[in-house]
């Protein structure tokens, strides 16, 4: 709004003829050296950031720049719709819990969510492969798994986190793994990152005399 202040002035038909108290920007100190300063409680919420003059050049021909809508916005809306649909599906699990496990009746919802995750994987939102990496991480937890409350909570948390992200980056992928950990899920599920069969080796000291005796034998 700083620029607007330079550009416009109320035409003072409704302004005072004399001004003893100038309106001040919100956030400025309320008193300066004994000078009386008034502040209206109906002032705008937006903060004015004082910067040096940022003149607005060439406004008339901006149309050219504005003709094409930004490509990211349409993709974001698709992405957002998919996330909202997944959240809607997650909301349907309520009657399908048997204890902590998702019962057989809930399989239909599971299948729907898995299909939506596939769609999310192909959605070109964000730069690079970050969305794909997040979706693969999510799928590593839920595909071919017996769903329980941890899976549902994890999915709800990650999708809520994702749906408000207009930019995706490495931090988004890290956040996904953090949420997995919070829910006690195994981030290496379905990978060879943490092998289950472990080979053990032992270091043993060998006496040199024993060694030469063995050779002679």
């Amino acid at each position: 709004m700083a620029e607007q202040r330079f550009l416009t002035n109320s035409v003072s038909w409704a302004g005072p003829a004399t001004r003893e108290a100038e309106p001040i920007a919100k956030g400025e100190p309320a008193a300066r050296g004994g000078q009386k300063i008034e502040r209206s409680i109906s002032e705008p919420s937006s903060l004015k950031i004082a910067t040096s003059s940022v003149a607005g050049e060439g406004q008339a021909s901006r149309r050219r720049g504005l003709e094409k809508p930004p490509k990211d916005i349409a993709v974001y809306r698709t992405f957002r719709r998919l996330c909202d649909r997944i959240l809607d599906e997650l909301g349907k699990f309520g009657p399908f819990f048997a204890g902590d496990q998702v019962s057989d009746e809930g399989v239909e919802v599971v299948a729907e969510i898995e299909a939506l995750l596939e769609e999310l994987y192909t959605c070109p939102h964000g730069q690079g492969e970050f969305l794909k990496r997040v979706v693969v991480a999510v799928q590593s937890q839920v595909n071919n798994a017996d769903w329980d409350r941890r899976h549902v909570t994890f999915l709800r948390e990650i999708i809520r986190f994702l749906r408000v992200r207009y930019l995706l980056d490495e931090g988004t992928v890290d956040a996904c793994y953090d949420l997995m950990k919070e829910q006690g899920l195994d981030r290496f599920r379905g990978t060879i990152g943490e092998p289950r069969a472990v080979k053990r080796y032992r270091l043993e000291e060998v006496d040199e005399n024993d060694k030469s005796r063995e050779t002679n034998d």
Binding site: L7, V11, W13, P44, T51, G56, G58, R63, Y76
Partner: protein, 270 residues
């Protein structure tokens, strides 16, 4: 220039207050570099000081200013909500991550509508605003002052507590109506005077575009009836969890519905 034009969006502005955004002082330069790389072409950093950093994009009519307290993104005159939305969301997320901001408050979106009048039509503009009868002065008060109302400006603020995105929020909405006179500042950017080779590749491209834009004739109403609508939440939010896209869409839709409601009112008065 058409006299008595319909109400048009003249200015869009979104702002968010940062809580503990002091890392601005350490990382402003890093933020500017990230923004230059992430945003659309045509963004140029303006003078940056410990008080504030700013960027502008003349092709999109956008300016962004930020400091340790807040971020403000504005678009003036030729409004494309989609560009505004796209760039504002990107700037917000970049700054939140760069300054590691945990909490924000007071998100707000302001939409300013103007109905233009000619240079010598200040009285007509004032009368137009009075005739819209958005606010009627007390007859007794008018008698006390003497004469008849020649100008009337007002501010109306409404507030309510409600649930938004599964959170309790205090919503505040504000409308200010006034008659304004406006002049455009003469365009000047110090970089226009520098030899092109002294500028970076990105800046050179932006300045070249600016040179072309300067030759265009600007269009602005010297006098206007202005309705300034602001939608805000006086609530603290987790910065990473705050749904800025939904907030902006909601504010924009609300402002449009108020504007069309006012247009209907105008029609009824006639």
């Amino acid at each position: 220039m058409p006299s008595h034009s319909p109400f048009r969006v003249h200015h869009l502005q979104a702002s968010v207050h940062f809580i503990q955004g002091y890392r601005y002082l350490d990382r402003c330069g890093e933020a500017l570099i990230k923004l230059e790389n992430i945003l659309e072409k045509g963004w140029l950093p303006s003078e940056t000081t410990p008080k504030a950093g700013s960027l502008k994009n003349d092709q999109l009519g956008l300016t962004a200013s930020f400091n340790s307290e807040a971020l403000t993104v504005s678009q003036i005159e030729f409004i494309s909500f989609e560009h505004f939305f796209d760039q504002a969301c990107k700037i917000f997320e970049t700054l939140v991550r760069t300054f590691e901001i945990k909490e924000i408050n007071l998100p707000s979106i302001k939409v300013v509508f103007q109905k233009g009048f000619k240079d010598d039509e200040v009285e007509e503009a004032s009368q137009h605003l009075i005739k819209m009868r958005l606010c009627t002065p007390n007859g007794g008060l008018v008698a006390l002052l003497g004469g008849k109302p020649e100008a009337l400006e007002f501010v109306l603020v409404t507030a309510e507590d409600l649930e938004w995105n599964q959170e309790r929020v205090h919503q505040r909405r504000r409308m200010q109506s006034q008659v304004i006179r406006q002049e455009r500042q003469p365009p000047f950017d110090e970089r226009l005077l520098r030899r092109a080779r002294q500028l970076g590749k990105q800046q050179r491209a932006a300045i070249a575009a600016l040179m072309q834009l300067r030759r265009q004739v600007p269009e602005i109403f010297p006098v206007a009836v202005q309705l300034d609508l602001e939608h805000s939440f006086e609530t603290e939010f987790g910065a990473e969890a705050f749904d800025l896209p939904a907030f902006l869409e909601q504010g924009w839709t609300w402002a449009e519905s108020v504007s069309s409601g006012l247009t209907r009112l105008e029609g009824e008065k006639k």
